[in-house]
């Protein structure tokens, strides 16, 4: 059976971070139009990331000796809750901060830590994750991109796809096959760090339905990687990737993605007699769900802070959270559409259109609903 999640508070030392972060993000949100903020953690702004880094807010959980904040999971929760709750563009450093940095810290060699971690903390090095391939989506263990041994390191051949921000990040941490074949499944997979400026790499952007292009196809043709490209031990890629996912699935990015839209809609209602009875109930419905998700997310953070890897609890938060994130645009468009003839501001409608179009990805990125529910079923002892 599942271990219950217990309500827990955020300790004072972590809450102490909040006022300064909030003050800083407010100076940003004041001058950026809503439809840009609606991109939430898909919004890419390297300058913004560097401003955060200057204040010590990139890599807060990494040790101070590498330029990190030396803070715990609660502190990071507070930081990103303010960043995402105010819809700031964190995409540039997001992956490095959330996954790549902690991964290198945990599994990397001393040289890798000395090289990458300070660059991550200064927001100089941005990372992307190379997981999916044309024939490997949810069935991630079937990846075919292969690194083969050479006298000086590795030679990489293959292709990744749906790699977010590969065209504007510096490094990719990819899950690749280093031995055996696709039939060997979880065995023989490893994680490698790839410098995306290396010869033999072609990055091709894929436009999306909103007019943005964040996805990419990435082709590797005889790409030479050094001996030091391997992260962790050879053949442990699957276990390492699985450990990362608990960090990826339970945070505020799983319920605040559509918050800029929601807040703008609330302000629109406030300016128009606070909405009818149905609108008010709807607003309450969304807030009650958010409050519970936030409590659950803090409870998972407590487990992370204790060094546990609460993969199933995290899957549960992500599945429920993305359901709400997808409900928000649906509900708001339904509400606005109940009053034909009302003049709704263009900015609100543009944000609504953007989120309505892109929100199907909320429950794809980081594991589909079906995969997450399969994990929960395993936690229930059913498989």
């Amino acid at each position: 059976m599942l271990e219950p999640l217990t309500l827990t508070g955020i300790p004072d030392h972590a809450e102490a971070l909040r006022p300064a972060v909030r003050e800083f993000v407010k100076t940003y949100t004041e001058k950026v139009p809503l439809e840009q903020r609606a991109r939430s953690w898909m919004g890419f702004d390297a300058d913004f990331s560097r401003e955060l880094a200057k204040r010590g807010w990139v890599g807060v959980t990494l040790p101070k000796q590498y330029g990190g904040g030396g803070l715990d999971a609660y502190s990071r929760f507070v930081l990103i809750e303010e960043l995402l709750g105010n819809s700031t563009p964190v995409a540039a450093h997001w992956i490095a901060d959330r996954q790549s940095g902690p991964l290198i810290l945990k599994f990397g060699t001393q040289e890798q830590k000395d090289f990458f971690l300070p660059r991550i903390c200064r927001a100089e090095s941005f990372f992307c994750i190379g997981m999916s391939e044309p024939q490997s989506g949810s069935d991630l263990a079937s990846v075919r991109t292969r690194a083969t041994r050479t006298p000086n390191g590795w030679k990489l051949n293959g292709q990744k796809i749906w790699t977010t921000n590969a065209h504007r990040t510096h490094y990719m941490i990819a899950l690749v096959r280093t031995s055996g074949s696709a039939e060997d499944r979880h065995k023989g997979l490893s994680q490698v760090i790839i410098d995306l400026s290396a010869p033999g790499i072609t990055v091709r952007q894929i436009g999306d339905l909103t007019g943005d292009a964040h996805f990419n196809e990435v082709f590797f043709e005889d790409v030479e990687l050094g001996e030091d490209a391997l992260v962790g031990s050879e053949g442990s890629g699957w276990a390492q990737v699985t450990a990362e996912l608990a960090f990826e699935r339970s945070g505020p990015e799983r319920f605040y993605s559509a918050i800029a839209l929601f807040d703008t809609w609330l302000n629109y209602l406030r300016e128009h007699h606070s909405g009818d009875s149905w609108a008010r109930e709807l607003a309450g419905h969304i807030v009650t769900h958010l409050a519970v998700l936030r409590a659950m997310s803090v409870a998972v953070t407590e487990k992370l802070a204790k060094g546990e890897s609460p993969a199933i609890a995290a899957a549960l938060v992500k599945d429920l959270g993305t359901e709400l994130e997808q409900f928000i645009p649906f509900a708001i468009s339904e509400e606005l559409g109940r009053h034909p003839g009302h003049a709704v501001p263009d900015g609100l409608l543009r944000a609504l259109a953007y989120i309505s179009q892109i929100c199907p990805t909320y429950s794809l990125r980081g594991g589909t609903r079906e995969i997450l529910r399969g994990m929960i079923a395993r936690g229930l002892g059913l498989r």
Binding site: L2, L7, G9, L266, G275, R294, R373, L382
Partner: protein
């Protein structure tokens, strides 16, 4: 909550609130033995201050006890009585050691008549906490004795609810001068009972799916069934978290009405899906009188509208959000639902 207290209460209810006891009480309303056993355990006084002879549990601590009452489908209003006895003690009144339930909203505009409809546990309660507004406009929170009320059955099989009606305020009414927001309290306690019942429903349904064999294997091996059970688990976990949140007091120790609203809205919304998935997985077996699932699903169906449905409480939260001057939901939510006090116990 102290795990020793939690475990001892869980064991007590496992012994005294068996499915057979629940069925017997639903059939004839005779709760004497069960009450006696609970009184002897001392748990009726759990929320009374230690100074006054109780265990001094705050609402936040008592959450786990409410949860267990729901998990064992306890067929007496112990959870409501615990809180009512605590409020009586605050008023310097030693409440009777009898079944006390809560019915804060009598029918509007009944003049001197106090007409309480669908009172939870009304069939077997001896006292009811009522918020009464007289035609003169004067408002009183009182404990009214059921012995002075006209009691009528709701006609719902197995239900412990009753309609209770007092022609006027009886002389034996106990007035509570220092009072609390009873509707909110009753709502969050009920949300906690619901979370407990959902936990049992989840366990029973997962267990059944592991035993029932079709097409040569347990139905729980089929992905279509697994996905449904995962949703059930998500809703049970979320409802439990919501109920625990609803039981957190404000920093000044008063109940947090909006957190209670979150609790009841979330649990009531979840209950519908929880019940339908559980019954779908159990198929015909689940709706038989003999099988225990119905002891929980009938309660969930009743409890989801007791003290306000999801829509009622969502509306209350929505009104508060829209009346707020905070520019973002985050700035509204944190002080409203997550003020520090009441969480401190978890910090060490």
């Amino acid at each position: 909550m102290d795990p020793i207290l939690y475990d001892s209460f869980d064991r007590l209810l496992t012994d005294v609130s068996t499915p057979q006891v629940v069925r017997d009480i639903e059939a004839d309303g005779s709760t004497q033995d069960l009450w006696q056993q609970i009184i002897e355990s001392g748990f009726t006084d759990a929320m009374i201050s230690e100074k006054s002879g109780g265990a001094g549990l705050a609402l936040a601590d008592a959450f786990s006890l409410f949860f267990l009452c729901g998990r064992h489908a306890l067929p007496i209003p112990l959870a409501y009585a615990m809180f009512a006895k605590h409020v009586c003690a605050l008023n310097g009144i030693s409440a009777p050691d009898q079944a006390i339930t809560i019915s804060p909203l009598p029918v509007h505009g009944s003049g001197d008549i106090i007409d309480c409809r669908n009172v939870p546990f009304g069939k077997l309660a001896k006292w009811v906490v009522v918020s009464h507004t007289a035609p003169s406009g004067s408002h009183k929170d009182m404990l009214l004795p059921v012995s002075d009320a006209e009691c009528s059955d709701t006609g719902v099989v197995g239900s412990l609810q009753a309609h209770l009606c007092w022609k006027k305020v009886p002389a034996s009414a106990i007035v509570l001068k220092n009072t609390v927001p009873w509707l909110e309290i009753a709502a969050t306690i009920t949300a906690s009972l619901m979370a407990g019942a959902m936990d049992s429903v989840l366990n029973m349904t997962v267990g059944y799916a592991g035993e029932r064999v079709q097409f040569g294997r347990p139905i729980g091996k089929f992905q279509a069934v697994q996905q449904q059970l995962s949703v059930l688990a998500e809703l049970a976990v979320a409802s439990r978290m919501a109920a625990e949140l609803g039981c957190q007091e404000n920093p000044d120790g008063t109940p947090n009405g909006l957190a209670a609203a979150v609790a009841k809205a979330r649990a009531s919304e979840a209950a519908g899906t929880v019940v339908s998935i559980a019954h779908a997985v159990h198929a015909a077996m689940g709706v038989t009188a003999e099988y225990d699932l119905q002891l929980f699903t009938r309660r969930l169906i009743e409890w989801r509208t007791d003290f306000g449905s999801a829509g009622y409480w969502n509306r209350r939260v929505g009104d508060a959000v829209l009346a707020s001057a905070e520019p973002t939901t985050l700035e509204f939510m944190l002080p409203t639902f997550f003020a520090k006090s009441g969480y401190q116990q978890n910090f060490d």
